[in-house]
Amino acid sequence: MNYFPDEVIEHVFDFVTSNKDRNTISLVCKSWYRIEKFSRQRVFIGNCYAISPERLIGRFPGVKSLTLKGKPHFADFNLVPHDWGGFVYPWIEALARSRVNLEELRMKRMVVTDDALELISRAFVNFKTLVLVSCEGFTTDGLAAIAANCRFLRELDLQENEVEDHRGQWLNCFPESCTSLVSLNFACLKGDINLAALERLVARSPNLKSLKLSRAVPLDTLQKILVRAPQLVDLGVGSFVHDPESETYSKLLTAIEKCKSMRSLSGFLEVAAYCLPAIYPICSSLTSLNLSYAPGIPGSELTKLIRQCRKLQRLWILDCIGDKGLGVVASSCKDLQELRVFPSDPYGVGNAAVTEEGLVAISKGCPKLNSLLYFCQQMTNAALQTVAQNCPNFIRFRLCILDPTKPDSSTDQPLDEGFGAIVQSCKGLRRLSLSGLLTDQVFSFIGKFAEQLEMLSIAFAGNSDKGMLYVLTGCKKIRKLEIRDCPFGNIALLTDVGKYETMRSLWMSSCDVTLGGCKTLAKKMPRLNVEIINENEEMEECIDDRQKVEKMYLYRTLVGPRKDAPEHVWTL
């Protein structure tokens, strides 16, 4: 191949999109390394502290699309202090300084300030895509900067972020010349929206395919928007409450019927069940439906709706649908691939909850199911075994029994056998979350059978260090392991320290590892950052190696301990 000019080789490489493959290509020879290096455009950084911006720029100077992830996953559940880290500003600053032609930035669990957003909007002339998931630290002022300065903005996608809503009119900041929007999602914003500005923006965005509104957008504005944008493929409804006898409502019906391209519905952040019939006309072509943020829709209305969504591939719903409702899903949605059932009442025992029955029904009716997140009241081994048999294609299987140490509800046994069946049957399983009463046995199953497992979440499980060791020795492809409230200690932690360099990260909180154990590990493995998160002021005085560590987060890194850790986070 070496007698082709570089441009030709580069053109060939363009067809190789997977980064894994591109990494392999880089290893062939120096000239291929060089060509690939300058032509790599998409970079994914799963842990922003594993590498520094300078090294990224040095390695891939042509990067156009960057994905950054910051805080550990358990930060979603308030287990990580707010100021732990994950600041994106240094990255933006470095990229701007080096005149990287950044076009796309996707961030998850990072701290994004208004300054960072402002800098993005000014430094990167061709900036097109901004996706923020579970981030925090910014306000609508930052959004205004993005709106005002990014002349070619195509995507502004805010998912589940904590945004401080100032009284500014950020929607107004999109200039009249901005007509390039393809995707706009501001559903997570809590404040008022300038409805007129929104309507005008939609009117001048002929390429708009995805629009997700916040709760502040009422039904009559929705109607006007749909009239302007019948080409929408993906719609997130804000408020959906109106008098069904009114003219506005009938106008809405007409507008919805014209939305022939609609494939995905979400939102309904405020909804009256008696308005739902308005969307019946588009149900038959929907492939994705997310009603997990729609409060107070009775199960009967949900089933009436879902019965008509025969092409559904993805369904996110609240558990008020009930086992019966899931039965309806099973009989109606034969193409279902992803199901998420969230608890509508996380701490109560309502009649609205789902049990193993619903899951079994789904498994019987939807054999294509490959991704599951299921919050339920109870589970049995028999049910899990049935599910494993019916659905061998699971890639993601996350089961959360609301009572974290609940045994099999019919036999009172641990749920080891059930989960064992899942890992044995689903050979492609990449992500697994366990719950319920579990002993070391389940980990022996996991270590033995879960060959493709990349991410494992464990809580309140196991009896001894053996449990964790089964996983560390057995799961060759494990990348992220997160453990809380399990009796795993120093032996498990220190038996195979080299393993952690093959993984992205390990989280252990409320386990039995001691400070001494963590220190030993940190000493042996200089290319790991072993962080101890300690929010307890008392500990500072009596630091004893025998003391158990409250929270430990370790990750491989090429750049040593970070300098932006707050006081109560120590890198050993």
Partner: protein, 365 residues
């Protein structure tokens, strides 16, 4: 009798205090559970507060409930208000109202203690704690009894702990007494099931099993569990709070709305789900407020106010003296009775019994 009540009600925007004060049993149950869980802290203040509470009669617990709603820091009091009424639908009419001021200080400290011990980030879990505890507490009397006995066994075990191995929840107890540690009370309430460690864990495990069979409230105390993104949890909590006053939650959720009446020193709350027609609602309101006005006749000495009497009240909805109105989701005051009952329930945020003169605009439309 009336002065403390009036003082509370007029204390600005705290009208819900009044509404919750009759809710004794509910508060007892809810409070019982809260303090039980706070107990596993082993902090002496909490335990003494609870033991004193368990010895005392209902009135003190009731005071504690109203006391909390007087604006203690944290979201507990706020979130709990709608829930406190869950248990009272039948009892609203009968319960006399208790004076609020005595014992306030004694009880204040323990609840404030709990608030302080939980950090900001924990505030939300605490909110949900109150939420769930009350919800679950309505299920059985037995439930309440368990928790009444629970504290003593837990305390005994806690007392003997020291550095208890194997259970991070227990371990976290010690620091939590003094600092704003994040992972404190919630975790203790739910010790691991692993058969590690001595008696306390088994005992705690046993009580936890009991708890899980009867009172899921226990599990509410664990930080970060269930593993739902905090954004989703917060959004759900906000919309549920709104829904309590507007839409009922699916299933057994109650639809409590405030009912105010012109000239009344305090408001009431009714569960709209208890009725299926306007007639039922109006007769129930009639009964509710007739009792009140008879009382008012005796004690209300405010000059310039019309003295209500029974016969006038009977003309409640039928006559022109009083008119029943409601505030809908858009914030407009509407006359009750125009729309189908189901739609009314869906959009009604609060009720108001207006005097004829004020309601002229609505009545004459």
């Amino acid at each position: 009798m009336s002065p403390p009540l009036l003082g509370v009600e007029e204390g600005g925007g705290n009208t819900s205090t009044v509404a919750t004060s009759p809710s004794i049993d509910g508060d007892c149950l809810g409070l019982k559970e809260r303090n039980y869980l706070g107990l596993s802290d082993c902090s002496s203040v909490d335990s003494s507060a609870v033991s004193s509470l368990s010895d005392e009669n209902k009135s003190n617990l009731n005071l504690k409930a109203t006391e909390l709603t007087l604006g203690l820091p944290g979201s507990q009091s706020h979130e709990r208000e709608p829930k406190l009424c869950l248990l009272n639908s039948g009892k609203l009419d009968e319960k006399p109202l208790f004076p609020l001021l005595p014992l306030k200080d004694g009880i204040c400290s323990s609840s404030v203690q709990k608030n302080i011990a939980s950090g900001n980030k924990r505030g939300f879990s605490d909110t949900i704690d109150g939420f769930s505890e009350l919800k679950s507490s309505k299920y059985t009397e037995g439930n309440w009894m368990f928790h009444a006995t629970g504290p003593s066994s837990e305390t005994a075990q806690c007392g003997g702990q020291g550095k208890f191995p194997g259970n991070a929840g227990m371990k976290a107890m010690l620091p939590s007494r003094t600092s704003g540690a994040q992972s404190t009370m919630p975790k203790e309430a739910l010790p691991k099931p692993a058969p590690e460690g001595p008696h306390a864990l088994n005992g705690a495990g046993a009580s936890q099993t009991r708890a899980s069979n009867n009172a899921p409230a226990a599990k509410a105390q664990v930080v970060g569990w269930p593993p739902i993104r905090s954004f989703r949890k917060n959004t759900l909590a906000t919309t549920s709070k709104d829904n309590d006053e507007v839409d009922g939650k699916p299933g057994p959720g109650a639809l409590y709305v405030k009912v105010s009446m012109d000239g009344a020193p305090y408001l009431r709350k009714v569960d709209l789900r208890n009725y299926s027609t306007y007639q039922e609602l109006s007769s129930s309101l009639e009964k509710m407020f007739s009792g009140f006005t008879i009382g008012q006749c005796g004690s209300n000495g405010t000059p310039g106010r019309e003295m209500l009497n029974e016969s006038k009240l009977r003309d409640f909805l039928h006559g022109s003296e009083y008119v029943l109105t409601y505030e809908d989701k858009d914030g407009d005051w509407m006359l009750v009775g125009d729309v189908p009952w189901e739609m009314f329930i869906d959009s009604c945020k609060r009720l108001k019994i207006m005097k004829g003169a004020d309601a002229i605009g609505l009545v004459n439309k």
